[in-house]
C-alpha cells in the first residue's frame, strides 16, 4: 500500500503550550511513520476558518481528517461533508456533539468531564486530610469562556464536588482565559473580597499558578489548596516546591499520538472503539514521583 495522507485541523495552536506541544508531537509522530504524510492546519480558534480548512482537506482528497473542533456543533455539517466524500473523520481532544457521531469514525482524547470530577475529588480529599471538609470555601478560575474544554471541566467539577464534599461552598467562579496574568488579577480581587479562601480550582495549571502567585504576594498561599488541571511544567514545579497541591496529568504528546494512531487504524480498517479516551490520572504532591515532569 502506498502512503496515506492525513489532514489535521487544530483548534488554536499559538494559544498555549499544550496545543503547540501537541502540534509538534503530531508532526514528529507522523514523520516517524513512513507510511504517513500529513497536512497540518490551524484554525486559529475561528470556526469559519476551521470549516474552510475541512473543505480544503476534502478538496485536496486526503485519506483521513483529524479535527480538533473549535466548536463541537458548528463543525458537524463540515464533518458530514467529509464523510459524504468518503473520508473518515477522527475527532481529537474535545468531542463534537452527539448529532455528529454518525459522521465520525472515532474520537480520541481526554475526558474533560471526568477531569473536572477528579479535580473535585482531589480537592475534597485534601480538605478531608486537613479536616476542613465541613467548612471549606473555595473559588474557581475557569478557562476561556465559550470553549468546550473550559465548560466541561467546570461542569465536571461543579457536579462532582457536592457529591463528595457536600458542605464545601463554591464562593464564586470567574474566567481566567487560560491566561496566567488574567488569573492572577482575578485571584487578587478574590483575595480582597474574601477573607477566607481554602481552595482554588483552576481550569489549567497556568491559571492555577497565576492564582498561586497572587496568593503568595498577599501572604496567604499557605492557607490555600490549589488544584489545577492539565499539569504544565510550572504546575509540576510548584508542586515540587510544595506550594501547589494537585492537578490532572494530561500529556499532549499522548493526545497527539493517540489521534494519529486512531486515524491510521481507521484507514487500515481495524476495529477502533468509538470513544477512545486516553487516561488522565490525578497527580498530587503525594504521588508526583510516579510522573515525569511535563515538557511544556
Amino acid at each position: 500500500q502506498d502512503t496515506m495522507t492525513i489532514g489535521i485541523t487544530q483548534n488554536n495552536v499559538g494559544v498555549d503550550s499544550y496545543q503547540t506541544t501537541y502540534e509538534s508531537a503530531f508532526i514528529d509522530a507522523a514523520a516517524a511513520n513512513d507510511a504517513v504524510e500529513t497536512v497540518v492546519l490551524d484554525a486559529g480558534g475561528d470556526v469559519a476558518r476551521q470549516i474552510a480548512q475541512v473543505e480544503d482537506l476534502i478538496q485536496q482528497q486526503v485519506d483521513a481528517i483529524i479535527i480538533w473542533p473549535t466548536n463541537g456543533e458548528a463543525v458537524i455539517p463540515a464533518v458530514r461533508k467529509a464523510s459524504q466524500a468518503g473520508i473518515p473523520v477522527i475527532v481529537t481532544n474535545s468531542n463534537i456533539a452527539e448529532q455528529g457521531f454518525d459522521f465520525v469514525a472515532s474520537f480520541s482524547g481526554p475526558d474533560n468531564i471526568t477531569q473536572g470530577a477528579r479535580a473535585a475529588e482531589i480537592m475534597c480529599d485534601r480538605f478531608k486530610a486537613l479536616g476542613i471538609e465541613t467548612e471549606a470555601e473555595i473559588v474557581q478560575i475557569s478557562g476561556q469562556p465559550g470553549y468546550t474544554t473550559a465548560i466541561e471541566r467546570a461542569k465536571g467539577f461543579e457536579d462532582r464536588l457536592p457529591e463528595v464534599c457536600p458542605e464545601v461552598t463554591l464562593l464564586e467562579t470567574q474566567p481566567g482565559d487560560w491566561n496566567r496574568e488574567k488569573s492572577q488579577q482575578v485571584m487578587e480581587a478574590f483575595l480582597v473580597k474574601y477573607d477566607s479562601i481554602d481552595g482554588v480550582y483552576a481550569g489549567d495549571d497556568n491559571m492555577g499558578v497565576g492564582a498561586l502567585n497572587a496568593a503568595k504576594a498577599a501572604g496567604r498561599a499557605g492557607d490555600i489548596t490549589f488544584v489545577g488541571a492539565t499539569n504544565f511544567a510550572v504546575g509540576y514545579e510548584a508542586m515540587e516546591a510544595g506550594d501547589y497541591w494537585g492537578s490532572i496529568y494530561q500529556s499532549p504528546v499522548d493526545d497527539a499520538e493517540a489521534a494519529l494512531q486512531t486515524a491510521i487504524d481507521v484507514l487500515n480498517g481495524e476495529d477502533v472503539p468509538f470513544l477512545n479516551y486516553f487516561d488522565t490520572p490525578k497527580i498530587t504532591q503525594d504521588n508526583m514521583g510516579e510522573f515525569t515532569k511535563p515538557v511544556f
Binding site: 495522507t5 485536496q60 466548536n71 458548528a74 455539517p77 463540515a78 458530514r80 456533539a97 475557569s142 469562556p145
Partner: protein
C-alpha cells in the same frame, strides 16, 4: 474697466488647469494584480511543497475560495461604506455573533417550532433585525453624542460581546436544522449559496455607491465633512443609515454562515473587524474616508482568503503563517504606495 477687459482677452496659460488625473485603473487594479501574484505563487510553490494531489488552481478550489471569503467578505463590503464615510465599525464581530445566536436560538422557540420550516425565513428576519438594531445603536450614539465612531464601536465591541455572553452564558448556542444546512450547502450554477450572497451584496453595494445619491453623499461626507454639512447634507442620519447597513450585513454574514454550521460559540467573530478592515484597506479605501471602492474591497477579501488557503496548502506552520500574513499586509501597503506616487515632482510633506 477697460483695463480689466484686456485681462480677459489675455490668453490663459496653455498648460491646462486640469492636473493629470491619477490612473484609476492602476490604483484600483493593484489589489487584483496582487491576487494574480498569489495565485501564481501558490500554484508554483504548491508543486514542490504541497502534499496534496490536486492543483491549487483547480476550479473547485477556486469556487471554494469564493465561498470561504463570504463571512468576512460580506462584512468587509459594508465596512467599505462606513469607512468611505470616514467612520469605522469595530463591533461587527460581536454583532455577527449576537445575530447568529438570535438566528439559531429563535428556531428553538416553541411558536417557531410549530411553524415547521417556515421558521427559517422568520429566524433570518429576526437575526437581520438584531444586526440592524445593533447598528442602529452605534449610529445613534455616533450621531447624538458626537463621539468618534472608533471609540463608540470600540466600546460596543466589548458591550455587544457582553450581551452575547449574557444570552447564553458561556455555552454555545446551537440548532442544527438540516433543511437549512442543505440550503446553505447547495450550489446553483456551480456557485455556493454563500458565494451568491457575497456577489449579490457586492453588486447591490456597488450600485449604491456609484449610482445613488446616498452613495455619492457617503463619499462627500467622508471627503469633507464640513463641506457636506454646509451643503445641507444631514450627516447624522446618513451615518445612522450606514451603521444600520453594516449591522444588517454583519447579520447577513451570520445568517449565511450559521445556516450552514448550526452552532455559535460566544467567542465567534472575534477579530473579524480587524480582518474586514484589513481587506478594505488592501482594496485601497482610505482610512480617512472619502475614497474607496466596493469592487476593490472584494479583491482585498479574496487576497486574504487566498493567502490563508495558500499558506495551508503549501504546509506553512502556525508561526510562519502569522509572520507571513503580517509582513505581506505591510508589503501590499508598500506596493500600493509606490503605485500611487505622483512621481519625483511630488511635494514632500
Amino acid at each position: 474697466m477697460a483695463q480689466t477687459t484686456t485681462f480677459t482677452a489675455a490668453a490663459p496659460p496653455d498648460d491646462a488647469p486640469v492636473r493629470k488625473p491619477r490612473s484609476q485603473l492602476v490604483v484600483q487594479g493593484a489589489i487584483w494584480g496582487f491576487v494574480v501574484l498569489e495565485l501564481i505563487f501558490f500554484s508554483v510553490a504548491g508543486r514542490f511543497l504541497s502534499n496534496s494531489d490536486t492543483a491549487f488552481l483547480d476550479l473547485d478550489n477556486m469556487l471554494l475560495l469564493l465561498k470561504q471569503s463570504a463571512p468576512i467578505g460580506i462584512i468587509a463590503l459594508g465596512m467599505t461604506i462606513v469607512m468611505i464615510n470616514g467612520n469605522i465599525d469595530l463591533s461587527v464581530g460581536a454583532t455577527f455573533a449576537l445575530s447568529a445566536i438570535v438566528l439559531l436560538d429563535s428556531m428553538t422557540w416553541p411558536f417557531m417550532q410549530a411553524l415547521g420550516d417556515w421558521a427559517i425565513p422568520l429566524a433570518w428576519i429576526f437575526a437581520l433585525a438584531t444586526g440592524t438594531a445593533l447598528g442602529f445603536v452605534n449610529g445613534l450614539v455616533v450621531w447624538k453624542t458626537g463621539v468618534d465612531a472608533f471609540i463608540v464601536t470600540l466600546g460596543s465591541m466589548l458591550g455587544y460581546r457582553g450581551l452575547v455572553f449574557m444570552y447564553n452564558g458561556e455555552q454555545p448556542t446551537s440548532h442544527l436544522n438540516w433543511t437549512l444546512v442543505d440550503f446553505a450547502e447547495a450550489q446553483f450554477l456551480g456557485l455556493h449559496t454563500a458565494t451568491w450572497f457575497l456577489l449579490g451584496t457586492a453588486l447591490v453595494l456597488w450600485l449604491v455607491m456609484t449610482r445613488t445619491v446616498h452613495g455619492r453623499n457617503a463619499y462627500a461626507i467622508g471627503n469633507n465633512r464640513e463641506a457636506a454639512v454646509n451643503a445641507g447634507i444631514r450627516v447624522g442620519p446618513h451615518f445612522l443609515l450606514n451603521f444600520m447597513l453594516i449591522g444588517f450585513l454583519a447579520a447577513l454574514s451570520a445568517v449565511v454562515f450559521y445556516s450552514e454550521s448550526g452552532s455559535v460559540n460566544p467567542n465567534d467573530g472575534m477579530l473579524y473587524e480587524l480582518w474586514a478592515i484589513t481587506a478594505v484597506v488592501l482594496g485601497g479605501t482610505k482610512l480617512a474616508g472619502g475614497y474607496g471602492s466596493i469592487i476593490s474591497t472584494l479583491g482585498g477579501v479574496v487576497a486574504i482568503q487566498l493567502l490563508r488557503k495558500g499558506l495551508g496548502y503549501i504546509g506553512a506552520d502556525t508561526e510562519t503563517v502569522n509572520l507571513v500574513i503580517g509582513l505581506i499586509l505591510i508589503a501590499v501597503l508598500f506596493l500600493d504606495r509606490q503605485l500611487n506616487r505622483k512621481g519625483s515632482e511630488e511635494l514632500k510633506t
